[in-house]
């Protein structure tokens, strides 16, 4: 059971699984070349490491308590990423598939909602923008 932040390319390793494992569900989030109809050329992820790790570990603890799983791991990238790079990798293992699917979905939803990681998109027209921060501007 673990949550990691890394500045290095994510290298997913599924090993040392419990012998009762009957199914694993992984989620891989990739950097895509389009968002809101704008052509994206690259991304930058910035984290507030102390709080991101605290919340990430808390999410893994919650999933362990709420779902009948044998393992849960999540790795999130920080730094500058190219199109197609792996931005986030999540894995849940369980005796049966249902719990593994549910646990993996819970983890990605919780990461997106509350782990303090920000994404700056660089567009092919030369502009750049912190994603979702249009919503913090008065009047919008």
């Amino acid at each position: 059971m673990s949550f990691q932040l890394t500045n290095q390319p994510i290298n997913p390793l599924i090993e040392s699984l419990h012998p009762h494992t009957g199914g694993i569900v992984t989620f891989e989030g990739l950097v895509r070349a389009i968002n809101d109809d704008r052509e994206v050329s690259s991304l930058e992820y910035e984290a507030y490491p102390e709080l991101a790790l605290h919340e990430g570990h808390a999410i893994i603890s919650e999933v362990r308590e709420q779902f009948d799983i044998l393992e849960a791991r999540a790795i999130h990238r920080a730094g500058h990423l190219a199109i197609g790079d792996l931005a986030v990798w999540i894995m849940s293992a369980a005796i049966h598939r249902k719990e593994a699917f549910e646990a993996t979905e819970y983890i990605i939803n919780a990461i997106k909602a509350r782990v303090p990681i920000w994404k700056k998109e660089y567009y092919s027209d030369g502009e750049a923008n912190w994603v979702r921060c249009d919503r913090c501007i008065h009047g919008l």
Binding site: G29, Y45, E46, A47, Y48, E50, L51, A52, H54, E55, H76, A87, V88, I108, I111, K112, A113, R114, V115, P116, I117, W118, K119, K120, W130, V131, R132, C133, R135, C136, I137, H138
Partner: protein
């Protein structure tokens, strides 16, 4: 008066112009500090979309600030 350590990330750092500072303030709560800093730096952000962390944990906006606290205002997150 309370002396605090403030760290800025992402869009808030860009809007502030620097990543961290130590300041002495009369603001009693995190919310009051947010309003003082909004006036100082002309932040174009709404309080409704900003969370606060004190000493590396999420805390309510009306939390009372203590001497030496590390304060971080958190714009909308976008991980995953």
């Amino acid at each position: 008066m309370t002396t605090l350590h403030i760290t800025y990330f992402a869009a808030l750092r860009d809007a502030t112009g620097h990543a961290e500072e130590t300041l002495t303030t009369e603001a009693v709560t995190a919310k009051a500090l947010f309003h003082d800093l909004t006036a100082k730096y002309h932040w174009p952000f709404s309080e409704a979309n900003i969370l606060v962390a004190i000493n590396d944990r999420y805390r309510p906006a009306d939390s009372v600030l203590k001497e030496g606290d590390r304060v971080v205002f958190i714009p909308p997150v976008a991980g995953g």
